[in-house]
Assembly symmetry: C2
Homo-oligomer: 367 residues x 2
């Protein structure tokens, strides 16, 4: 897969809490930061309890992956990601059902976070990604087999949490989460299959569909599950799903732009990293399929072996072919759609505030 | 893992229906054969419907794995295993709740079969097993990533079937099945970890525990889920779980004996195959830990590189160290325990008949 699709290098999931980057966020992102911290505080005890119930060797891998233990079993200070998905579950429940729905949805929020982490464990094995959350990935430490097994166990724990939840929304939430797992699998399949194809063989439509399955689906599912716990009408559950999907795609577009042209505010991946890896990210595919003279130049450059001095030429070709402008316009369009969806389901702006703050947080580099 | 643990080479799962081997079973195994065929006929439509709902590329892998399609998508005539686990779900429901419970449990039986196949797909990747049900394994055809993704999707489908099932037993069945997945993962972890250790470093207790987790747990879970759909008391659900676990361990012991000394009635693995692979099967570990002079000889032979002419010497050492007698006595003991468990929960021998027939079928080479 393209790393930028699952290993977002903005705030979506992959930075640990408490980094310097987060400190810069106390301006307009203050509400989102508080929502994320609160979600983490409520969901972590549930996660720690269910992971603590795993048999020893599987538990050890899961605790390492979550950043709670070092590989040797000693406690770790690392955080376990920013809890965007659990925060979306809780914000959606709160927006549509107030405090009671929010409290009832904590276990479901933990289930969504377990599914997210199961897919990270497996995707890292498939993609041979060596680093996650600033640490060696589980498969590099414990081997492929144990990383696969720990992922399998986390999926089981997620659906177990919902199976044991007496809330009337739990079965529908479990069905929805299982469907989302299938969509995530299809998205990961499409991503790995597309990476094997040549730069002229990938359409923009399939790249967008892949990004929606890989990044949008679980954000949409998180919001929809929150709505289910608020006993929302089907139409509002669907609107919340659409909100999460659109915000997820907006995030991915922004993230892909950063993966090419970099972000002066962040310390992390150097600009051009996605180009060096010849990733078929959204701006690149938009450029390749633009029919412009720059598209042909880009296709030629993308099939050549990596030369460091080419990165600027490639980035320029993507820009001249319209890839950057397209991605930024698309991101703005998706965010507008997300806002429309949430306004449809939650007309009161105050009630919708948490969802909007979280959506802006994950895509805040678009401003 | 030891292949004999998950890829049983007797009737437990891995032979396709309609082989010559099955034809020899029309004597005392007639009732079991009928139960298996009936289970297959009832469960297959559910399996085909949910697998048919998967996105194209993932569906293709699943249909190949189940033996319903060739790799190129053309229909295949191969069967998808003998449906032991679904038959146990249905037999347990029938034994404790009659026809109505049996009918209600068909979706749950399909869910158990999906979990079984999810673990087969993943285990084959981890163990680099190249053949299953007389065909190349999915990872050899589609690659590791797609085999992992198809397994992930089958686990999701299993728990989705139960999440959508309005029967009052469905949540408890889902929780039990998720717990079983965790136990299967722990068993697979133990198996791969034990294979990496020297012949003197593995205890008989941990080998038995591993075999119970890998082979007994899902058979026990199948029976327990059937009992849940019959609205059985907790004590009877536990007895049915114990029945399945004990029968599963008896099967594994017999299967391990066959893996060393072969079975004149079957065409398949040659005698000695498990020894050639230096598998730490139950008779071997019993022999290694027997404290006899033959144990020391066996340990020395097991650390040497494989020489074909050694296989007879190794088999003789296992036998002289008591490994064969121990395994056969243990298998008989486990079958006796299985019978006691079922008699406790289902005192009427006629009602228990299906469960007993299936238990005898999977271990019939013990007679």
């Amino acid at each position: 897969m393209t790393e930028s699709m699952t290993e977002p290098h903005t705030g979506l999931t992959e930075h640990t809490t408490g980094t310097a980057e987060q400190e810069t966020d106390l301006g307009d992102g203050h509400e989102a930061t508080m929502l994320l911290e609160r979600a983490r505080a409520e969901v972590d005890p549930v996660l720690r309890a269910v992971i603590g119930s795993l048999p020893g060797p599987i538990r050890r891998i899961a605790l390492y992956h979550f950043g709670w233990q070092e590989a040797d079993g000693t406690p770790a200070r690392g955080g376990s990601g920013k809890a965007i998905r659990p925060a979306l579950v809780l914000a959606a429940a709160s927006a549509l059902g107030g405090h009671a729905a929010r409290s009832a949805a904590v276990r479901a929020a933990a289930a969504v976070e377990l599914v997210h982490n199961f897919t990270l464990l497996h995707d890292d094995v498939m993609d041979r990604d060596a680093t996650r959350r600033h640490r060696p990935t589980a498969w590099t430490v414990f081997g492929d087999a144990d990383a696969i097994l720990a992922g399998d166990a986390l999926q089981a724990l997620a659906l177990r949490l919902l199976a044991e939840d007496p809330h009337p929304a739990a079965p529908a939430a479990a069905a929805r989460l299982a469907d989302c797992v299938v969509e995530l699998c299809a998205g990961q399949h499409a991503d790995t299959a597309m990476e094997r194809r040549g730069p002229g063989e990938v359409t923009l439509a399939e790249t967008l569909a892949m990004a929606e399955s890989k990044t949008g689906a679980l954000l949409g599912c998180a919001c929809a599950i929150g709505a289910l716990y608020a006993d929302a009408e089907d139409v509002d559950v669907a609107a919340l799903d659409g909100f999460g999907r659109s915000a997820g795609l907006a995030f991915q577009l922004i993230d892909d732009v950063i993966g090419i042209w970099g972000d002066p505010l962040r310390t992390g991946k150097p600009a051009g990293a996605d180009l060096a890896a010849r990733k078929k990210s959204l701006p690149v595919v938009a450029a390749l399929t633009s029919g412009t003279p720059a598209a042909a130049e880009l296709a030629a450059l993308y099939t050549q072996p990596h030369q460091k001095e080419d990165l600027e030429r490639i980035a320029l070709a993507v820009e001249r072919a319209g890839g950057r402008d397209w991605a930024q316009a698309q991101a703005a369009d998706r965010m507008a759609r997300a806002m429309q969806e949430v306004a449809r389901a939650v007309p009161d702006p105050e009630a919708a505030g948490g969802l909007l703050a979280l959506a802006e947080f994950v895509t805040r580099r678009s401003t």
